[in-house]
């Protein structure tokens, strides 16, 4: 699941090497933490969070297929 987030993030940022994800389990909810270079924050969030929302939608679709609950945090 975190690989999916990585693929998306790496393809839209300017510094793909700085893309990192961490995974933790929070009471049955999988939490994916995405971090990117400071200059790339806007690239994964977008105006009014539009890009972040789109990434979350795709992650959610994949989680639905696997019957899991996933949350994406961007920091």
């Amino acid at each position: 699941m975190e690989e999916l987030v990585e693929v998306i993030a790496k393809n839209i940022v300017d510094q793909p090497k700085k893309v990192e994800t961490a995974l933790r389990n929070d009471d049955g909810v999988i939490v994916i933490e995405l971090s990117v270079a400071d200059d790339d924050m806007g690239k994964v969030i977008g105006k009014q969070g539009r890009i972040a929302r789109a990434i979350r939608k795709v992650v959610k679709a994949s989680a639905t297929k696997e019957g899991k609950k996933v949350e994406l945090k961007i920091k």
Binding site: M1, E3, L4, E6, V7, I8, N11, I12, Q48, R50, I51, R53, A54, I55, K57, V58, K60, A61, S62, T64, K65, E66
Partner: protein
């Protein structure tokens, strides 16, 4: 994006060699001169080969398809990506997705499809001068949805006229609201407009007195 270095006696020769090797035309490539080259004194002292770099951008169709394939390979969803050649041109690229999990790929009111379309558009148009419109469909979903929205627009216009009051629709993405507006342009009894902030913006239908 592909990048390759070529060396030859002169810059022109290096370019010729590179274009032939990569099998492309001059206008498809970005060429950087790294070393001008030097014939040297009497062709002996200080002789240096010219060196150039050729950069070729992937075409938008491949860029988008690669991204989508890469993306779905990280999920458990089986998706086949078809390029709609007939609708693809210099301004837009159209993909049609096929999957046994079509419902998941489309999402509620096409939200997942819209998200995929938006992200693919960002990837394809990243670092390019020309803007390509990206359309992602799933087994003709967008056409079917358009027909549904047209029917809905007519039905609710009728309701607004009959009850003589404003009818408020559920929140919809911009392209879906557009279909409602276009449909109702032909109905002289009502007018439609949108209110609220994305992603909760709604269409309103009102009678014209």
């Amino acid at each position: 994006m592909k990048k390759k270095l070529y060396k030859a006696k002169s810059v022109n020769e290096a370019i010729k060699k590179g274009l032939k090797d990569m099998d492309i035309d001059r206008n498809q490539a970005e060429i950087n001169i790294i070393e001008q080259g030097n014939k040297g004194f009497l062709g002996l002292i200080g002789k240096k080969k010219a060196e150039i770099e050729i950069i070729v951008e992937d075409d938008p169709v491949t860029k988008g398809k690669d991204f989508l394939e890469n993306l779905f390979s990280k999920t458990n969803i089986d998706v086949d990506i078809e390029v709609k050649e007939a609708e693809t041109n210099q301004e837009q690229v159209v993909y049609d997705l096929h999957s046994p999990d079509l419902g998941i790929v489309i999402g509620r009111r096409g939200e997942t499809l819209d998200a995929l379309q938006y992200l693919t558009s960002l990837v394809v148009n990243k670092n390019t001068e020309q803007y390509y419109r990206i359309i992602i469909d799933a087994e003709g979903y967008r056409d079917r949805r358009e027909k549904t929205l047209e029917r809905l627009a007519h039905k609710l216009a009728q309701k607004a006229v009959k009850k003589g009051r404003k009818v408020v629709l559920e929140p919809m993405p911009p392209h879906e609201r557009r279909i409602i507006h276009i449909t109702l342009k032909k109905d002289s009894r009502v007018k439609s407009y949108s209110e609220g902030e994305e992603p909760f913006r709604k269409v309103m239908i009102e009678t014209i007195d």
